[in-house]
């Protein structure tokens, strides 16, 4: 039984259909990576899981619960958080206000404070900058804030949309290491990435999307060995 299961998902923006029947399963505790070129529909897939865009057909289940008809705020409450494309931190709010908003759906103050302590352990720089406006952080710090903010809801499933975008390689390594640590605490992840190498190294399994369809699905190691994947997403590793 998958924790997150997408079946036959169709999504349209106005009259244009951009997802043509996506099937995707994520098991409990897994990290699943979604690869694909620009415009393939990766972000749209994540946004529809979070309920920010609505399916025109198909279904999304979290465990036994159908969530594709729920409003976005209710889906967070069900246990799905997202680190959106472009981070979208609240720039004119402080770091700590951003984090507290991440826990908006939670009521128990003591436990929320505990989670906050955990986030500050994961990303000590955020503790240092807790009173600073989020808009004044560097790109990497904003990415950490976006991840920390999403974790504040204590999600069962964490959706990450290109967390490595625009960051220096060393920083990407550090962040991915932290993601591994978070996964070790039992947080299931869907990781959308253009940085296929880093993503496949971290993920257990992967999907490849093209033009609104899933074209490939396999374990990470098998995908890394796949010549087509190598040519298209790993910069033709065999040739080098």
């Amino acid at each position: 039984m998958a924790l997150l299961e997408i079946a036959g998902l169709h999504v349209r923006y106005g009259n244009i259909e951009v997802l043509h029947g996506i099937d995707l399963r994520v098991g409990e505790g897994e990290i699943v990576s979604v690869l694909g070129a620009n415009g393939a529909g990766k972000s749209t897939t994540l946004l529809s899981i979070s309920g920010l865009v609505k399916a025109s057909a198909g279904s999304i289940h979290l465990g036994e619960t159908p969530i594709h008809k729920l409003p976005a705020h209710a889906i967070v409450k069900q246990g799905i958080a997202q680190v959106p494309e472009g981070r979208r931190v609240f720039g004119t709010l402080t770091v700590e206000e951003n984090l507290s908003l991440g826990a908006f759906v939670r009521d128990e103050k003591g436990e929320v404070r505990q989670t906050l302590g955990w986030i500050y352990e994961l990303f000590p720089i955020l503790a240092e900058r807790r009173r600073q406006l989020a808009g004044t952080l560097s790109g990497g710090e904003q990415q950490m804030l976006a991840i920390g903010r999403a974790l504040m809801s204590r999600p069962r499933v964490l959706l990450l949309d290109e967390p490595s975008l625009g960051l220096a390689p060393l920083l990407v390594k550090a962040i991915f290491q932290t993601l591994k640590e978070i996964n070790g605490k039992g947080v299931t992840m869907v990781l959308v990435e253009q940085n296929a190498r880093a993503a496949l190294k971290l993920a257990h399994r992967g999907y490849v999307m093209e033009l609104g369809r899933i074209v490939l699905e396999d374990s990470s190691s098998a995908l890394m060995e796949n010549p087509e994947v190598q040519a298209a997403y790993l910069g033709g590793e065999k040739g080098r």
Partner: protein, 301 residues
């Protein structure tokens, strides 16, 4: 010098009223990017409902001037808040997914509707707030004779603004309102129900505007169904002056505008009072296009 300080208190009192109204414009704009043209008519309605409650329930006779007025203010706030929420439900919410221009047209329609309703119910002539509700005496503060009413207006608007500031800055709901004003999509990803935020904004903004109407009635003693036009324009100016969408900005902008106007009227020319206020606005917008407090931090993309 005495003249200066008297004008200053007058400017602060009027500015506080501008600020209270400006807050309604700026909160709605912050979340919906919509200018609620009907807001000035909620202000007018506040003045009229205040008058009706005052004369029909004899609150100040029963409870004394202080508690009577306090209760009156709360009743006006409650009623106008309900009208504000209804306004959103009827005039704006059905158009949430439509092009922005539709909502603007709807706002204009709602404004005309409310203004005409007030006129039909209360008549087109000036109405007079009964005298002697608030003490007409002056109070001596640091060698100045300041009219009691002026102090009451000042204190009320200050208290309201402090309460709002606390609500917006310190409470969970307030933080959610600020988040939704910055990025609605991201706010929804936090589990914030943006519809509830919008409802909240349409309760609080009109409540403050309604109290401002009541204060104008108490301060000047006379109200008219067209009063929303002038005050609305000034308050809207104040909101832009402070940076539209920015809550402290609306407070600063309103008070500044009131003081500038009072000083201009006292030292330059009463006839040019409005022109002076708008000149200041234009100057500030030339040098700070986002208003005084608007968008201090550019968001990194």
């Amino acid at each position: 010098m005495e003249q200066f300080f008297l004008q200053l208190t007058n400017g602060l009192a009027v500015g506080g009223i501008y600020a209270l109204i400006a807050l309604g414009y700026t909160m709605v704009y912050g979340v919906l990017k919509l200018i609620n043209f009907a807001h000035s008519d909620l202000f007018t309605l506040g003045a009229y409902l205040g008058l009706t409650l005052l004369t029909s329930m004899a609150l100040t006779d029963r409870l004394g001037p202080f508690w009577g007025t306090v209760l009156l203010a709360f009743m006006v706030m409650l009623l106008i808040a309900i009208v504000g929420a209804l306004l959103d439900r009827v005039a704006y919410r059905p158009l949430r997914q439509s092009p922005r221009l539709s909502a603007v047209v709807s706002a204009l329609g709602a404004s005309i509707f409310l203004q005409n309703t007030v006129m039909l119910v209360y008549g087109a002539r000036f109405q007079v707030y009964p005298q002697g509700i608030l003490p007409s005496t002056a109070i001596r503060v640091m060698g100045l004779d300041i009219p009691m009413v002026r102090l009451i207006v000042l204190c009320t608007s200050t208290l309201m603004m402090l309460a709002l500031f606390f609500f917006i800055q310190k409470t969970k709901t307030g933080t959610a309102i600020r988040a939704a004003a910055i990025d609605q999509g991201a706010a929804r990803l936090m589990g914030i129900d943006v519809n509830r935020v919008i409802l909240m904004v349409f309760l609080v903004g009109p409540a403050l505007g309604g109290v401002a109407g009541l204060l104008v009635g108490l301060y000047y003693g006379q109200i008219n169904f067209t009063m929303g036009w002038g005050y609305g324009l000034k308050a809207f100016t104040a909101a832009i002056l402070g940076g539209i969408g920015n809550i402290p900005g609306a407070m600063v902008g309103g008070i500044l505008l009131g003081v500038i106007e009072a000083m201009g009227a006292a030292y330059l020319s009463i006839a040019w009072k409005d022109a002076i206020a708008f000149c200041v606005l234009i100057l500030i917008l030339i040098f700070r296009p986002t208003g005084l407090l608007g968008e201090r931090v550019a968001e990194k993309v």
